[in-house]
Amino acid sequence: MQYMLIFTEPTEVFARREDPAEAPAYWGAWSAYMGSIAQAGIMVNGDGLHPPHTATTVRVRNGKRDVQDGPYADVKEQLGGYVVIEVPGLDAALDWAAKSPSALYGSVEVRPVLPPPAR
């Protein structure tokens, strides 16, 4: 089965990415983690995302487009990246989620990916 691991990080953690003192450890942890997923041969795809302040949110209501600066919800933890992995079941997906850097300071939501519609 395929699962998306959705990594959310507290707002202040996004600042570490740019901080000269903290950035090496931050990126080091992530590349080690993504490397281990690739090495296990379970990677389907995945990306890191620019911080939430770069987000733009769009809604169309009554045919009118409403564009707003910022992420869809102003909450303490924000989406930082995701990865889709192919593993036998939920337990394996949870194990991989627990190994991620953001499990330690943020959280990881695990969702099964819908299979393509049967024809």
């Binding site: 036998p88 079941g89 337990d91």
Partner: protein, 409 residues
């Protein structure tokens, strides 16, 4: 065998085979709801036919054949709801390829699915009661004091999560087993304590599921014979259940432990409890349920001998609060200290519990009332008493608490 016994034997057999077959069919598809649909008619038929005609020699084979027949029927008439049909067929063929169909028991895997950490804690026990024992949602809802529709909805949601999120039908790896087993045992114990206002001294209200809980614990013991905590849980529930008849008078009045008529205790059940506890201890891995069972065993012996080994009892309570974070354990310990080391000592231990954890916890206020009264602090006792009454649902327990206050006046 009289009629009641025949009914009982048929129900026990039907429940046993139902869970075995359901777990076998649901294992490959992870689709519990579909497996339930496939078995529902056959199970209902078994419950009505077996008490009259007797339990068949191979109850699983009987149920499977009946389910296969009704699945074919449903397919022809509706053309839908047969998501489990291929699995049903597969199990049927596998079983009939053997000279004597001996059904593998996959119920343990199903129990681990029901109590999986990804399943909301409040629905684990209902899920287990429904899938392993075939209890219907309305019966479960009554025991949990919720609307039948609300209970059905929770169960349906949990089953689709299991199917869609890919919760595997597996016994956890040895490294995870102890932790995951704790969840299974906690879900079973929750079925047992349902409707108890677990005052140290015990009372029970409503539609109890104690027999069901004991059956489930026995099943875990049988399928995981090397796990001492499963044996501990079984011993704990048996030790308490053995006193069931002595807990109320004929008119329903609650009788505290020390005043119970030992003649009304179930000696065979108590012996089973002791045997389970000894077998658990022999495995030399202590745990919360074993300690609680040891405490119950000591209580039972104290009442029979008329003498409480206070030091041993207090020691067990000290061990218990280190093993179990439950408030019930901390309150019971305070009561034991109050009884054997003085009321003020007990009160001091009640004060160690953080106030926000006990604001709505009836046993805490009942214990507090009891200890304050024993310490002669009557004004404070009265206000604790009012609080305890306010939080009590069970009328027999309300009557008991009232009588305690009037005695003090």
């Amino acid at each position: 065998m009289n009629e009641g016994d025949a009914q009982q034997a048929a129900e026990t057999a039907a429940r046993g085979s139902y869970g075995r077959l359901l777990s076998l069919i649901a294992r490959s598809t992870r689709d519990i709801a579909a497996a339930e649909d496939a078995l529902a008619e056959a199970f209902a038929r078994a419950l009505s036919v077996w008490p009259e005609r007797g339990v068949p020699d191979n109850p699983e084979a009987w149920l499977l054949t009946a389910a296969r027949r009704s699945a074919g029927h449903v397919r022809r008439h509706l053309g839908v709801r047969d998501a489990a049909a291929p699995a049903l067929e597969q199990v049927y063929e596998a079983m009939h390829a053997r000279p004597s169909p001996d059904f593998p028991d996959e119920r343990l895997k199903l129990m681990f699915v029901c109590a999986h950490p990804a399943i909301d804690e409040s629905v684990r026990t209902p899920l287990m009661l429904q899938t392993i024992l075939g209890l219907d949602a309305a019966r479960i809802a009554r025991a949990f004091l919720v609307e039948a529709s609300a209970m059905s909805q929770r169960l349906v949601r949990a089953k689709s999560k299991i199917r869609d999120a890919g919760v595997a039908f597996e016994v956890p790896e040895p490294g995870d087993l102890a932790e995951r087993l704790e969840d299974v045992l906690a879900a079973i114990y929750a079925a047992y304590t349902l409707g108890w206002d677990d005052v140290p001294g015990e009372a029970r209200a409503g539609d109890a599921l104690t027999g069901e809980a004991i059956f489930l614990a026995g099943l875990v013991v049988q399928l995981l014979p090397d796990e001492p905590e499963a044996k501990g849980l079984l011993a704990l529930m048996l030790a308490s259940e053995a006193r069931a008849k002595a807990r109320r008078t004929a008119d329903g009045t609650y009788v505290p432990l020390m005043a119970q008529d030992v003649q009304l205790w179930d000696g065979a059940m108590m012996a089973q409890s002791e045997a389970a506890l000894r077998a658990a201890a022999a495995l030399r891995r202590p745990g919360r349920f074993q300690t609680e069972a040891a405490i119950q065993s000591l209580h039972n012996q104290s009442v029979m001998l008329g003498d409480v080994p206070a030091r041993a009892l207090l020691h067990l309570y000290d061990v218990l609060v280190r093993q179990s974070p439950a408030i019930g354990a901390a309150v019971a310990r305070a009561v034991a200290y109050g009884e054997h080391a003085g009321a003020e000592d007990g009160l001091a231990r009640l004060d160690e519990i953080s106030p926000d954890r006990v604001a709505r916890y009836q046993p805490y206020w009942a214990a507090r009332f009891h200890l304050l009264q024993a310490a002669g602090r009557r004004k404070e006792a009265a206000s604790a008493h009012a609080k305890a009454l306010e939080l009590t649902r069970d009328p027999a327990l309300v009557a008991f608490l009232r009588s305690r206050l009037s005695k003090a006046d």
